[in-house]
Symmetry: C2
Subunit: 355 residues, 2 copies
DNA sequence: TTGAAAGCGCTACCAC
DNA sequence: GTGGTAGCGCTTTCAA
């Protein structure tokens, strides 16, 4: 492992000069630059970033704490973050909190010890992102969701509008009995989607019976459970709005087990699009979040904060950035008008008997 | 930002003592340990890992360079890696090479500069993992695949056996016209799967017409293209083995467009299982790789190397570890006997009856 | 324009 | 047991 002194010796200059060419200081004579670069090549020299970090008090590393690496929603976000980081000379340390507040807290401590310049965080429901102590450590940008009452930098989908638009789509198709499987309601994404849904219903005076509102937790299992409950009601809904991808999957399983056909017997609208959505039968109608873009912009916001923080320490005074990105409704085959479904139901019943 | 000196001053001890309690040196008197810990709590002190790293010449960080964060196969691997790293006090810097050898090379340089202790790498087809210079930098463990002729530490699925078993399943169902959509053949995973497929065919004297072998590149688009080609043949295969998840998706799209039904018209066997496999219609028969386990063990192998390397520098002498994990065939609904679909084909029907 | 030297926060050696 | 201190590889001031 060679050091800057080895290069200096080989190039017959001082360490300061080597450092100068490493940092593209324009004051170094071209002839020396050449000699130094040759020496570096000869020894396959790569300057030690950790020594550099210690000296300049900056690691060019950010931490990213997410809730589930396995969820395609987050992996798209990661890709956006990683791309943007990479092209700005930053590295990202990936941490998977698995929705566990304790793990989240531990990761945040670890990242602090590692002196990351900033953190991107998908907060768990009882997140430490609400403690002022955490914000004293490093700049933080929240992604996807914020705890209720949180004030700080964040980027997310405009969940209210997205849910509103999706629900309007169901209403416009003629549905009046619409069920919803919600997420956690103490996090903005869960709550805002429910509120957008409610708003659309109220505007058209569509009632929302208690039983049509099933509270899930964004996990597959809860989608399954809520799906069973909804479809086993005396009067099941003619359409269901499922508030994230995993729950939609659970819901589909429930439908399968109950032999309830979609969209003939019930229309399904899912939040979150993913690569495979178009390969389900029926092809899923979804609300697509701009995931990659969310990751990219999250990193940009953080970079901007780092820039402005550079000299003044953690500048409490800087303005808070909150970005809400528009989602896109992708209408495919899992939503249809409820009128057509009654006829189909009869057909299916007949077929069922024949079988 | 407090330093070890602040703690020393507050606890009225020397920095050496503080360092002692930080590193659980048993020689420090309990009374002092207490005082020091109190001081740390009071100041929310977290020791600076970058200073520590510089001193001990170890960062407790590993780099992970993968080909596509967006592919569920890799995200499961990541989760295994991250979990194992976390519980051993290691952090992982995530890099997405996007299957680009140049990016891979850049990431490897960057990781070297950051003085990561080791690297987990999913190599691109013309990977720098074959250059001895790279191996001089840090220990590397390859994941999922190795370039042809590579000798070094690696962990992957036993692709040959897995493909062999899967193909046997198709043959046992009565298929004699079996197509394959392969991956890159200059990487072990692509080649081994083809070879396992071939072996099973040869054992039963099943011919493999040239046209039944379509070479893809593990991307969705190639699965689509190859699928179209296969099913538009004068005599299309009665079963297709698709060598990874993305290509299977492309294949499904091709079938949809051609209005070819699965499994009635053609059986599909896909390599790679994923959470949604059971939600397709039909439910996909797949070969499931032990992804999480692969990540976990990859990290374990690397940790073991780090352990043995600790003192002796990069010990060229240490033995090479190559692990091949067993895959699991998950038979669902996309594969079925060809007899049921072609009543007119007497040969197959006869075979079916004999079976 | 170049070089000598101090010092970032920590560990580890050595003296007490 | 505890403390003083050199030094990890780099940047940056200051003097030449």
């Amino acid at each position: 492992m060679y050091t800057i002194r080895d290069i200096a010796r080989l190039a017959a200059v001082s360490v300061a000069t080597v450092s100068g060419v490493l940092n593209n200081k324009p004051t170094v004579k071209p002839a020396l630059v050449d000699r130094v670069k040759k020496a570096m090549d000869a020894l396959d020299y790569h300057p030690d970033q950790v020594a550099r970090s210690l000296r300049v008090r900056r690691t060019c590393t950010v931490g990213m704490v997410i809730a589930d690496v396995t969820n395609p929603f987050f992996t798209d976000v990661i890709r956006g973050v990683e791309k943007e980081a990479q092209s700005n000379g930053y590295s990202v340390i990936l941490c998977d909190s698995n929705e566990d507040p304790t793990l989240e807290r531990n990761y945040l401590s670890m990242l602090f010890s590692r002196r990351v310049d900033g953190v991107l965080l998908v907060p768990t429901s009882s997140t430490s992102a609400q403690e002022s102590r955490i914000h004293k450590r490093f700049p933080i940008v929240l992604i996807d969701r914020v705890p209720l009452g949180f004030t700080g930098d964040a980027i997310m989908t405009d969940n209210f509008s997205a849910a509103y638009d999706g629900t309007r789509h169901l209403i416009d198709l003629g549905h009046r009995q619409i069920g919803i499987i919600t997420g956690h309601l103490n996090l903005s994404n869960g709550l805002d989607r429910l509120e957008g849904f409610r708003k659309a219903l109220q505007e058209e005076n569509v009632a929302l019976p208690d039983k049509y509102l099933q509270q899930g937790d964004f996990q597959l299992e809860s989608g399954y459970r809520c799906g069973l409950k909804l479809m086993q009601l005396p009067i099941p809904p003619t359409a269901i709005f499922s508030c994230n991808n995993k729950m939609t999957l659970g819901l589909m399983r429930a439908l399968g087990e109950l032999h309830v056909h979609c969209p003939e017997a019930v229309s399904i609208l899912g939040f979150d699009d993913f690569e495979w959505s178009a390969y389900f039968t029926p092809r899923l109608t979804t609300i697509a979040q701009p995931t990659y873009e969310m990751g990219r912009q999250a990193m940009q916001i953080l970079l901007r904060k780092l820039q402005s923080t550079k000299n003044d320490g953690l500048s409490e005074g800087s303005r808070v950035t909150v970005v809400k990105l528009k989602a896109e409704l992708r209408v495919r085959d899992s939503t249809t008008s409820p009128a057509t479904r009654r006829d189909m139901q009869k057909e299916n019943a007949a077929i069922e008997i024949i079988n």
